[in-house]
Every structure is written in C-alpha cells, then in structure tokens.
C-alpha cells in the first residue's frame, strides 16, 4: 500500500509503463489502426483510378493513371443517387430516434425492481434472441399483417426493437442509476415520467449515445430490408441498397454466366464499373465516419461517469 502510494507520488500517472513497453504498445496499436485505415484509403484510391489502369494491372495503390470518371458517373446517376442518399439519412435519423426511444422505454421498467412483470417482459425480449421465426414467417408478418411493403415504414419498423440493445441499456441503468436516487426523487414528489426524464435520463446519456450509435450504424448499413420489402417503389431505397444491387448483379452474372451465355455477357457489359462501386462506398462511408467522433465522446464518457461517487 505504501509502495503504491509512494509510486503514485513519484509518477503523476499511475499506469505508466517503461519506454520499451510504451514503444511496443504504440507499435501494436499503430499497426492495428493502419489495418483499419488502409482498406479505406485503398477504396478511395481505387475510386480515383482510371478504368484502363484497372483493366491493365488490377487494383493498385499506385495506378497507372488517375481519373474522376467514377465520380462523374455517380453524378450522372442523378436523381436516383441523391434521392437514395437522402433516403439513407432519413431512414437513419428517424429509425435511430424511434428505436432509441423504444429501447429506453422498454429497458427502464426492466431495471426497476419494484416492477411486478419485470421477469415476464425480460423473458419476452430475451426469448427472441434465442428463437427466431426465420425469414419467411417474418416476411409474412411484416408484409401481410403489418402492411410493410413499398413504404418507408418497411425500412424502419422491422429494426425498431433489438433485445440485445435492451439488455445493454438495462445493464447500464443498473450500473449507473442507484435505486436510492429514484427513491429520493419519489420522496421529493417526482412522478414516474418526471423521474425518468429529469433524473434518470441525464445520467444515462452515455448509454443512450452507445445505443444510438449502434442503431444508427445498423440503419445506415441496412440494405436487406429494401431487398425484401421494396418491389415497385424504387424511389425510397437507400444508397446502400443501390450499391448492394450493383454488387449482387455482378455476382449473379458471374455465377450464372455459363448458363446465361450471351445474355450474361451482354448484361455484364451494362454493369457499372469497379471504380463506380468504390466511389459509392466513399459516399456511404464518409457521413457515418464523420458522425462517429461525436458519439465516441459519450461512449468513452460512459466508461467513467456515474451519479454516485464512492
């Protein structure tokens, strides 16, 4: 104990390592960061590579020639591109707001020990994590029962509730909000809604931010719902689906080219180029990469804050 106390006095930061260890850690983490960044840089480079260069030498960090062709082409996609881009934002913003609201409102009672049906609702959400209905029953419910077809709701509603997020949120409530605080609020005459909005929510902002980040990422990257539920109204598809469709078309033609014969060759000629796909990836990644630092502040904060200091 005294040794530690002495050590602390000598070095202002307790968790200091020797220079050797520091170098190793920096090296490892630096390498890891590079592994994350390099693919993205590569994507950007490819998006600026000319088609001729790709044909000649394939993907390369040092292409034979540069070109803005892919971006020029994305702008020619015109309406569809911007509409899809806007849809992506719309779906993400509305979806995130609604799903976070639902998640908090579901998790809060589960954390309250004085709630009688706590066990039942806990089980109800947990159960769906283990046993899923499968794709077809889900499709039937969403399409025939809920009418989720060719509308924005079809791209938002199926992902509104996530049991996993509820568990994260409930645990966050449990670890950061002491029961005493709620009791104190009740004694001071606060109603249930007042307690939630004025006392609890300000404390759990980091938790909400974490959930919001997860949901925003989920909505932003979602394309499968569009594939399932959007048949006729292509005006409402998000950018991700636009990109996935190009990719899947290419994959399908590659897989079935020997069966489709001349038709496949003909269709493959109409497909957008590799560089265009990479340009779209850039379009998709940039906004969410920009949003990340804002959330990150809360996520990091979430590890350290609490309402009752020991």
């Amino acid at each position: 104990m005294t040794a530690i106390a002495k050590g602390r006095r000598k070095h202002p930061t307790l968790n200091r390592f020797g220079p050797g260890a520091q170098a190793v850690f920096h090296g490892v983490l630096g390498l890891f960061s590079l592994l994350c960044i390099i693919p993205f840089v590569f994507v950007i480079i490819i998006s600026f590579t000319s088609e001729e260069s790709i044909r000649a030498i394939g993907y390369s960090f040092r292409p034979l020639s540069w070109s803005l062709q892919a971006y020029a082409y994305t702008f020619q996609l015109g309406d569809q591109l911007w509409r899809s881009y806007l849809n992506s934002f719309l779906i993400t913003i509305v979806g995130t707001a609604l799903s976070v609201g639902i998640c908090v409102l579901y998790a809060y009672p589960l954390f309250r020990r004085d709630y009688r049906l706590r066990g039942f609702f806990n089980f109800l959400s947990f159960f769906t994590m283990i046993f899923g209905g499968g794709l077809v029953p889900t499709f039937v419910i969403c399409k025939s029962v809920l009418g989720l077809s060719d509308n924005y709701a079809a791209l938002i509603v199926p992902m509104l509730f996530s049991p996993f997020n509820v568990i994260i949120m409930r645990t966050f409530f449990q670890t950061t909000v002491p029961t005493e605080l709620i009791e104190a609020a009740t004694i001071d005459g606060s109603g249930e809604y007042g307690t939630l909005t004025r006392i609890v929510l300000p404390i759990v902002t980091p938790g909400i931010a974490t959930i919001a980040l997860l949901n925003a990422l989920g909505y932003w990257n979602e394309w499968f719902l569009s594939l399932l539920y959007i048949n006729k109204n292509m005006n409402i598809i998000p950018l991700q689906y636009l990109l996935m469709r190009m990719q899947r078309n290419a994959d399908f033609l590659a897989k079935n080219s020997s069966m489709l014969g001349a038709d496949a060759s003909r269709a493959a000629m109409e497909l957008p180029s590799q560089t265009l796909k990479m340009a779209l990836v850039v379009f998709i990644v940039v906004p969410i990469a920009c949003a990340y630092p804002f959330f990150q502040r809360y996520v990091v904060a979430g590890l350290t804050v609490g309402s009752v200091k020991g």
Binding site: Q80, L227, M259, D263
Partner: protein, 502 residues
Amino acid sequence: MKRIVSLFLTLAMLLGLCAAAQADDLPTITIMFHGSNVSDDSAVLEKVNEYIADKVGAKLEVIWGTWGDFDEKVVNTLVSGDSDVDMVFTCSWSADEYNSYAKNGYFVKLDDLIAEYGADLKAAIPESLMQAATIEGAEGMGIYAVNGFKDTATQNTWDVNVTLLNELGYTLDDVKNLGFYGFGEIFAKAKEVKGDSFYPFLVEPMVAERMVTNSIIIAGDAGSTNLLSLYLNPEDVSAEGAYGNQILNKFATPEYKAFVEKMHEYYEAGYINPALAVAETSNDTRTNAQKTADYLIGTQSYAYGYEFSADVLARGVEVAFVPCTDAYVDTTASQGAMMAISSASEHVEESFKFLALLNSDPYLMTLLNYGVEGIHYTLNDDGLVVFNADARATYSPWTNGMGNVTILPDTESEGKGFREAFKAYYAGAKAIPALGYVFDNSAVANEMAALGNVAAQYALALDCGATDPETELPKFLEALDAAGMQTYLDAANAQLAAYLGK
C-alpha cells in the same frame, strides 16, 4: 355535436371507399420479371393497360427483378404464399428452379387453361417447348409454366478475335482444324508478337471444359460447380455419345484428364491470365478483356446473332464464333426462361390470358420488351427498330426472359430478317437423347453440399490449368470419393435410367 361530426366523418369515409372501388373495377395482376434494368415504366404500362383492358380484363403491374435480387425475392414470395404476385419468372438453371417449385405446389397447373384459352399460345410456341415444360408436378404430369421461345438450344463456341488472328498470319480455318489441342502454336506466335503481358487464351474454365470434352450440364446438378457429365456425340448431337446414356463423375474421365493436362501446359506457358483461375476475379477479368478485345481465342456460350449484338460490335475488331458442335436442345436450355402462375394468385385466369397474349401478340411483346414507339425506339425507313439510348437507359428489361422473343421486330443492329432466321435456327436444333431429364437431388442433398465444397476448392484452378493435375487431380478425386461421389452418381444414373425407360 361530437356524435354528428363522427357520423358525418364515417359517412364520408364510406363514400370515399365506394368511389375508390368503382374507379378500380378491373383486377390488378402482377408479374415479376428477372434481370431487368428498369427505373421508369410509366409510359409503357399506360399503353399496356390500355391494350389489355378488354383482351385480358385486368390491369398489369410489374415488379422488375434485377439479376442479383430475384432469387431471394421469388423464394419469399412463393414460400410465404404472397397473393400480391401472380406471375413469376422461373427456369431450370438457377435458384428459380421450375421443377422443384412445381413439385412443391407453388405453381398452378396450366393444362386446362391452355385447352380453354391457349389456342394462340400453342400456335406461337413450338410443340417441343411445350413438351420440355411438361413435368411431374404437385398435381401430376402437366405444364406448370409458359415456356418462352428464345435461344432454346445450347451451343458453345470459340470466340475468335479474327483481326488479331489474321495479323498473326492464321485464318479461321486454322482455328477449326487445329482445335483445342492444337491451339498451342497460335498462342506461341501471339505471345511472341504481342509481348509477355498478353494472354491469348481467354477462357471461362468451366465452359471450356464442357466444350472440349463435349459434355453437357445436367439440370439439377450442384449449382456453380457442376459435378456430373453426360457426354454428347459431337458428330450428331441427337445420337448417344461415347459412354451411352450414362452420367459420369465429370472429373474422373480420361477426357477430363487430357483437358486439364493441356490447360496446365497452356497456363504454364503463360497463355492464360492467372486472374481467371480465381473465382472472385474470373468473370470481371474475362468481360474486361472481351470488351477491349484483349485476347485471341476465348470461350463463349453462343446465341444466334450474338456477333451482331451491340457489345460484340463495340469491341472494335472482327469477331467470329466457331462452334464445337451443332446447337443442341437440352433440359437446361429448353427450360431457360419460363413464366409460371403462383398458386397464391387470386387471378389465375386473367394471369394466364395475359401470358398467352404476351407470347403470341407481337404488339404487346414489343411494347413490354422494347418500350413505346416514339419514346423508347423509332422505326427507320426499313421498318427496323432504332433504340433511343436515353429512354432505353431507364427501360431495358431482359429481352430473353420475357417469353416468345421470336415475335419481336428486327432491330437496326440485327438487320432485316434476323428474327425469322433466329426462329428457324432454334426450331431446327436437334434434341439430345436425354432431353427433359432433371436430376432430383433432394435425396442426396447432403452429399451434394459436401461435394460442392470439394469441387469449389479444386475444380476452377484445375480447369484453368493453374494447378498441376499430376498431383492435384488424384487428391481431388479422393476427396470427392470421401464426400460420397458414388452415392450421388448412382442416384443420378438410377433416375436417368428410369426417365429413359418411361
């Protein structure tokens, strides 16, 4: 007061519903096409609905499936019994498997409807195609889809860059006479003239294998990597091949061994681009090289008139397609593009009337396939279709996926008389002895999955010549045996014998 207002509102709502119902007295039928690139169909559908209102008694809506999404969409639609979709594309060669869906009761049996409303349809489509569609389905032997009259025969060809060939001092006759096993000397010359980075032999490895060994695809065999072979008689495709009507393990025959050995020799000599041996890059590499005519001899599964199509003309060199055999009608090709009516449809009769009309009425087929005259295309002085590129960019369905394409007008690039010749070419194609045979793999599905994995590991690299058959082929065969090749093979042969015995 409240009560009066609510009563008034309810009344208004009911009236509104009535009005809506009256305006909408024709039922809507929905069709799901494959492989289309359509973003604006409003002008076309307006005309279509004008035209079919009396003839069919329904309004049409179209779901334009794209290549990549169609399989998933159709599975969901059929399995969930979605009554919003009345007609779907189906075929024998991808996950839209006609035979298994019909067997599982997802498609309506059409025989009675054909007898009642199908006179025009029967006149428009050759009897052989009707036969090819006749299978054992959920409601017994019958026709479960309207079979499209398109390039209904298979023909594999060498895709030759004639301009370059002539530059090298060879002619098309040399290609024909030398054949696959003799291409080496032309390739060597090409390499010498065009330099080291030029790859003269542009193969789709799996297609090349079938071309050289004269084997065909068995419908129902494992998807992307076929495991089974049925050998043709290259001299007369309607006669039995060297092994008779027997299905063989594709990779265990002497023909296969000879093929991969030669491919390995070509690969080692640098005639084949290594990117072709990698599944992820194979197709892109091939299409790109074709596009820029950066090859000497390639493989191409051929459809009549392909040499006149825009994408071949765009290569900017003279291209010729040298066939390995006559065109032959096999199950895969003769069930290549069909339209079935979903069992969940609430408008079966209207749907069938529509399909019958689409396949027999040139106006409707042209309208749906090429668009509206004056918007998507114009007719030139010879009466040939000239496409308007801008409008066509928002409306280009998959031509062959729609049905009877022989009733389409000729386009400018195809030239006058093209469709007639096309029709004659395929009407005259001979059928292979085992036509109509479809391997029902449901009893050996586990073996098929295991074998598919093994084949995915070895086949492409071997077919492309990238690995040495001396060491790899025995390993491959051993792995196949361990995964249950014999069981799989026996099941296929037992079914074939039963089919031919019938």
